[in-house]
Symmetry: C2
Subunit: 184 residues, 2 copies
Amino acid sequence: MSELEEKTLKSEEIYSGKVISLYLQDVMLPNGKQSKREIIKHPGAVAILAITNENKIIMVEQFRKALERTIVEIPAGKLEKGEEPALCARRELEEETGYECESLKLLTSFYTSPGFADEIVHVYLAKGLSKKENAAALDEDEFVSLEELTLEEALHYIREQKIYDAKTIYAVQYLQLQEALGQK
Amino acid sequence: MSELEEKTLKSEEIYSGKVISLYLQDVMLPNGKQSKREIIKHPGAVAILAITNENKIIMVEQFRKALERTIVEIPAGKLEKGEEPALCARRELEEETGYECESLKLLTSFYTSPGFADEIVHVYLAKGLSKKENAAALDEDEFVSLEELTLEEALHYIREQKIYDAKTIYAVQYLQLQEALGQK
């Protein structure tokens, strides 16, 4: 709605990095006054809720420097420039887990932190998994440890705060909903 | 798990702002090699899934400069320094919607973007709503438009990408799950 819009008066690039860029913007508020906005630009990402033939969820444990701890997440990764999200999902699934999938379905897409960042995550459901021979490797600065969890185990991990991020909590709740609807 | 840990060799503050700060860190990877991490520090936030006595969800439409558009979200706001999340939830509910609530229950907490930010969002369920006289006002740079949606309307908004952020999509799916479980 246009009566809520904030017009950019000035946009200054503070930092441009490997993953994110930071802009400081002067904006005109709807009431004509001015304010500043701090904006992070991010290339976007995919995440993959991959279900094995034994009905387990594939998770990766990973050290997250921003949190100074490891957490357990569904596999995920950043979009490369111009990369189609579904292809990125197949690539990241292979790199992080060694699996390829027969079926891949977009469940949802969401902005993670709309108050300050334009990062969007596309969450896919992957089924029909098989181990790929000579699977592509992780990026050289990525280290992950694989786990396969039942839904009950994943819910336990949420209570223990081992699973602790938005995309993974969304994905586990999605499976709970499917189970409750009897559509598993 | 310690074998995944990345040790900080150097941390440089690139920017310190009103909402976020940016650090560039040199880290030692588990294999002894070095890499760089770009880290955003954020004070954390709360979000409130507020259900009216008519069983509608209170939403706020807000222009998000990072996205250059408005989206429809559950009420939310940043933690002030040292502020207890439940008190912050009551304050933000009052400021953004004019409502106070009888009951407030923590549903979950999640990191929004663990790959680059330490932002955590605590999501509360608020019930027993009543309009408060002389409710506290919004921050002077905040402009929102209120809506009350049924669950069906909220699901429609997700399909239309009017609802498009992690906390709100989580909250709507939470209500779907409660309905499916017959615990509404």
